[in-house]
Symmetry: C2
Subunit: 238 residues, 2 copies
């Protein structure tokens, strides 16, 4: 990769300095050994990528100056990922891969068979930011706080279709290209699968399409990456 | 998952005991707290899955008796995964996911921009075994030792087509379904991409098809999972 990229959640106005917080300043000077005058790439998730010059870095923060636009803003398609949190490393992984593969929003859900009562939203959001920094992205998907699946479905906008990766459907996944484009959400179940009540409810919703992911049982993190890939290839921007 | 599954690399002959080595015996008795009389599921990668009863477990090994066939042998399609090893955790991850997604053989390759001089083949093979154990599989893809890409291409059988995931081709991936079925290998490059010499060589080979994996840059591990998914959905057994 080489180039240092930094996500800065601050408006970008050409000619105005963009402030760095203490952690960003420490990363640039303490970790990456960069000082005033060095050029990096910055993005704020909405104004594309910019070449920026470090003006100051200190213990309490710093600032960069925007030099020139480097890449236009590129937003992903309107795809959400709903998944039940699993073990820490695999949950981190799902968030990283969803950011890389172009999810627009990441929504952890509590299902009948989910063990997690809470998540570290800030830590997951940091993973999504790091993935965008590492992979040259200009967009960072927001990671929502954990919400009960039942409550989300209560208020679900039927205009957003749901692609339900159903582990009980060990079939083919070749029908995606025939589905309508537009807003979608991918739903990945927990390791123990969905409960019977959840399965009945999902099956009864008009906006839900079930897909199988092959004859082998996939872990939840694998299923998330596979479903994001198939959606992007058939209905997204690949 | 619940059920204890164990890969045992030994012929299965109904009526004959299957020996456990010391590590397997320790896993069953020390880790999983199972003793003689307990039923587990075993597979050897070629004879399907069997219900087996523990006959003996001790410090030096043990034995199980085959009780009844539990699932037929299910081999994946004839798909190899060639990839350049990256950081340890991500290499482990690629092997795990390739086993889950149904690769028939995993071949780490040394490219012009690969840093790895050697891999721990035994450790990677153990990851492939664990993935099969965890995911209910009956097949374990062999993990080959690291080999130079150039040497592999020198002796390449042109009957095995190569799907080259080319990070320079930020295009669509929608042409896979039109490709012939049969033996394939997916080739994933290192973080720094392929060298110019490698790119020229691959482009000149008749059996090579390039695909892009979307407009965002993907890490090598993400690219491996995405390419395996697209291949399985279009040309494999999904």
């Amino acid at each position: 990769m080489g180039k240092i990229r930094l996500y800065i959640d601050h408006p970008f106005v050409p000619g105005q300095a963009v402030p760095l917080d203490a952690a960003q300043a420490h990363y640039l000077s303490g970790v990456m050994r960069q000082g005033p005058g060095a050029d990096i790439e910055v993005f704020n998730g909405r104004d594309g990528a910019w070449t920026a010059r470090i003006e100051a870095v200190g213990k309490r923060g710093g600032a960069v100056a925007l030099i020139a636009a480097a890449a236009p803003q590129q937003d992903p398609p309107d795809l959400w990922l709903l998944f039940a949190p699993i073990k820490k490393a695999r949950t981190d992984f799902i968030v990283e891969k969803a950011a890389e593969l172009g999810a627009a929003r990441i929504q952890p859900v509590q299902t009948d068979h989910t063990n997690a009562e809470r998540i570290r939203q800030d830590r997951l959001q940091a993973h999504a930011i790091e993935a965008a920094e590492q992979c040259g992205g200009t967009f960072v998907p927001p990671v929502a706080d954990l919400a009960p699946l039942a409550r989300l479905l209560d208020g679900w906008d039927p205009a957003r279709r749901i692609l339900w990766a159903d582990e009980a459907l060990a079939g083919q996944a070749d029908t995606l290209a025939a589905l309508p484009r537009g807003p979608w959400a991918i739903l990945i179940g927990p390791e123990g699968g969905f409960s019977e009540a959840e399965r009945r409810r999902l099956a009864a919703m008009d906006c839900v399409t079930r897909i199988g992911l092959g004859p082998r049982i996939l872990r939840a993190d694998t299923a998330a990456v596979a479903a994001l890939t198939l959606w992007q290839a058939a209905l997204g921007d690949w």
